[in-house]
């Protein structure tokens, strides 16, 4: 993503592929359903490809490029039509958008395919805000929310503002800011296991800053970060309703009775 962060977006398509990601598959099927409802409400048909598994990022960040390539190739083959692919987690979208072309850059056969595939990848909030240009009508009571923007969303995709743009449309929701908003939560996939003490220091600070915002709810468009932050909140016994949820769940809860 360029420093100016501008990507030229296509007009709203009639159909999209839905990429749930392995984290959402295991942790948050409701978030996935909420996202589908939101996209369908925009008049876009959602195609679910059951054969999808994982984008390959865990192997890639651990130094196993061959394994990552094998998995990436299998995923790239699952979406034959030219529709956009909406991805439910910033880090997986970053993997497909930025790292697939990098992985296959010197590959005679797949370099072009990886480039073309990456062009079709859009993170969920990016798709809803910039391609659907969704207009959201808030149906819920007065409340406040704090957004955790992920590093992948911010630095690999340049879309940290799109979640914020969606949330700011909710007129009864006050969007609170956390200190050190752009700092990493300390997840980093295998980093959280290989260097768990440093990761701990990072997630402790992140949770404190998010809670320090005084917001009632925590949302994020990245399930990697959420698994980390929620896990830590639960460990401290402070999960309750502040426990982070996917942006899609929050948006759907607030707007489901509204007409598009």
């Amino acid at each position: 993503m360029s420093e100016t962060g501008l990507r030229i977006y296509p007009s709203k398509p009639s159909k999209v592929y839905f990429y749930a990601t392995c984290l959402l598959d295991l942790l948050d099927p409701d978030g996935g359903l909420a996202a589908i409802e939101l996209i369908e409400r925009e008049g876009v048909e959602v195609i679910w490809v059951e054969k999808q598994s994982c984008c390959g990022q865990p192997a890639y960040t651990s130094g196993y490029q061959e394994q990552a390539k094998t998995v990436a190739l299998s995923q790239m083959g699952l979406f034959p039509k030219d529709y956009p692919i909406v991805v439910m987690s910033g880090s997986c979208a970053g993997m497909m958008f930025k790292h697939y072309p990098h992985l296959f850059a010197n590959d005679d056969i797949y370099a072009d395919q990886a480039e073309a595939f990456a062009e079709r990848v859009f993170e969920f909030s990016e798709f809803l805000a910039h391609i659907c240009r969704a207009k959201l009508h808030d149906q819920g009571p007065l409340t406040s929310v704090v957004l955790h923007t992920s590093c992948s969303g911010r630095r690999e995709l340049g879309i940290h503002a799109s979640s914020q743009a969606l949330l700011s449309q909710l007129d009864k929701v006050e969007l609170k800011k956390a200190e050190y908003e752009s700092e990493c939560c300390g997840f980093g996939g295998s980093f959280s296991l290989r260097h768990s003490e440093i990761s701990q220091a990072m997630v402790e600070d992140k949770a404190r800053h998010l809670q320090g915002s005084g917001a009632s709810y925590l949302v994020s468009a990245d399930w990697g970060c959420l698994a980390n932050i929620n896990g830590h909140l639960a460990y401290r016994g402070e999960a309750s309703r502040f426990n982070g949820q996917h942006l899609a769940s929050f948006l759907w809860q607030r707007t489901k009775g509204a007409k598009a």
């Binding site: 598994s53 980093g188 290989r194």
Partner: protein, 487 residues
């Protein structure tokens, strides 16, 4: 007492100790917050910053693309200016070379300006062993030297210390020190102590920020004036630099200088900028009689040989990546056990020390990308970390001969586990079955999560996977459409 020695191979233990040190952590957090703000203020126009970065990156890439010929040109033009040029392949050679230059003068008193490359070759310890006193003349370096430590940051060597700790050190080491916590007075005390050393020194050693091939000029960026004193007062000046610091034209220097200082300390220019183009000439009244330049490889040509890794050498040593790194901010520079800590240290140290020593460093990043975002010459640090992780894990049979310590972190079990994971992820029906079974069984299994549960609960898995949810949704909607129902 010798200098406190940290090792890259002990990173985990050193990081753990640093994390437990609350004073250290608060010193770093405060200092990094301050430096981040300073940089932000210095680059208030994002458009200008983008252009400057692009320009700086282009300069560095152009110069590196012709490194061998620029080094020859530099040597020729330096010699024409009366600078004596020496080459050192590794740290040991550089140590010996510099020691011989000093000893050939019969000298025992040396002052040294701030130079990371002399830290890299552990020059002070070597000279000390030969009975040569080498005093650091940069205030931060001087403090660190008194504390028998190595620098904790490449621009601000003593950034890990607060004023109380500095005052305590001065009380211990400087005669007649009138104890104070006033920063101005502390600096004054240090300066006075150093003034005597400049007068006595027989040799001055410095680093080099840019070496200009076109003119044979050595450029030195500094704020305290100690660099100027070090390179002009003693009769002999020895400049030491890594081979990657060469630039092609004099006109390459201003843009690099401008983005270097703003990235490092948020200064538009520094107080001093020295351009050294040779020893004293008649009828000049000051300056050294001899100027030497030592060009050090020490693993750099290994990085140079690989097109992707060569980008590592674009670095202009501003330290911005450290100032913005969430890992560095929490563990500080010493934990890395390398001369260059933080993100840049993680990608340059494998070339200096080999991957076997540094394989923990290349994994010690969440790949958040903050370093790449601020790097003035756009080094893709996260991508290079990925590359080095890959090289560290290569099974032995796949080695290419380019990198020291390749395959050193390879493990048969880990490799097998990832192969199984890849197999599972490419067999959808088995994958879906395995995930469905996983979420069903998770709550009954006392699944040990090891390091994850150090500060987190086990993830709460859904009662059914998204794949299962979608299957039910599809069958429901089929039923609905069969019975003529709708949403």
């Amino acid at each position: 007492m010798s200098v406190q020695h940290y090792q890259a191979s002990q990173f985990k233990q050193q990081a753990s100790d640093a994390l437990a040190n609350q004073t250290l952590r608060s010193n770093f957090r405060g200092a990094m917050d301050y430096l981040q703000q300073k940089r932000k203020d210095a680059f208030s126009d994002p458009q200008e910053l983008a252009q400057l970065r692009e320009h700086a990156e282009n300069i560095r890439q152009r110069c590196l693309s012709k490194l061998p010929q620029l080094l020859e040109q530099l040597e020729k033009n330096c010699q024409a200016n009366g600078i004596q040029v020496h080459w050192a392949e590794d740290a040991k050679q550089a140590q010996q070379l510099i020691a011989e230059l000093i000893q050939s003068q019969g000298a025992t008193k040396v002052v040294k300006g701030k130079s990371m490359v002399t830290e890299e070759i552990e020059l002070n310890q070597h000279l000390e062993g030969l009975g040569i006193e080498c005093v650091e003349s940069d205030m931060g370096e001087y403090i660190v030297q008194l504390a028998k430590e190595t620098p904790s940051h490449i621009i601000m060597p003593a950034i890990h210390k607060n004023k109380q700790q500095v005052a305590d050190l001065f009380q211990q080491h400087i005669k007649d020190f009138d104890y104070t916590l006033s920063v101005d007075k502390l600096i004054q005390t240090g300066r006075e102590a150093l003034r005597t050393k400049f007068k006595q020194a027989e040799v001055g050693i410095s680093g080099v920020n840019f070496a200009v091939a076109e003119t044979g000029t050595l450029c030195l960026v500094e704020n305290e004036g100690n660099g100027r004193m070090t390179t002009t007062v003693p009769p002999v000046h020895i400049a030491v630099t890594g081979i990657e610091k060469v630039v092609e034209f004099l006109s390459d220097v201003p843009p690099l200088f401008s983005i270097l200082t703003r990235s490092a300390t948020g200064q538009h220019i520094t107080t001093y900028f020295n351009m050294i183009s040779g020893p004293r000439r008649a009828p000049e009244r000051d300056g050294p009689n001899e100027v030497h330049l030592v060009l050090l490889d020490n693993g750099r040509s290994q990085a140079y040989a690989d097109e992707a890794l060569r980008k590592t050498l674009q670095c202009i040593r501003c330290g911005a990546c450290m100032n913005h790194c969430p890992v560095y901010t929490r563990v500080g520079g010493h934990a890395y056990g390398t001369t260059y800590p933080g993100p840049i240290g993680k990608i340059i140290s494998p070339h200096l020390q080999g991957l076997a020593q540094t394989s923990d460093l290349v994994t010690a990043s969440s790949l958040c990308g903050a370093c790449e975002e601020v790097c003035p010459v756009k080094i893709p640090i996260p991508s290079l970390l990925q590359r080095l992780r890959h090289d560290a894990k290569l099974p032995a049979a796949e080695q290419t001969p380019s990198l020291k310590g390749q395959a050193s972190a390879a493990s048969w079990t880990e490799h097998t586990a990832w192969r199984m994971w890849a197999w599972l992820s490419t067999h959808p029906s088995i994958y879906n079955w395995a995930m469905a079974v996983g979420v069903k069984l998770a709550k009954y299994l006392p699944m040990p999560m090891g390091e994850w549960t150090r500060c987190r609960n086990k993830p709460e898995l859904a009662s059914q996977t998204f794949h299962q949810t979608m299957k039910r949704r599809a069958s429901k909607s089929l039923t609905r459409s069969a019975t003529g129902g709708g949403r």
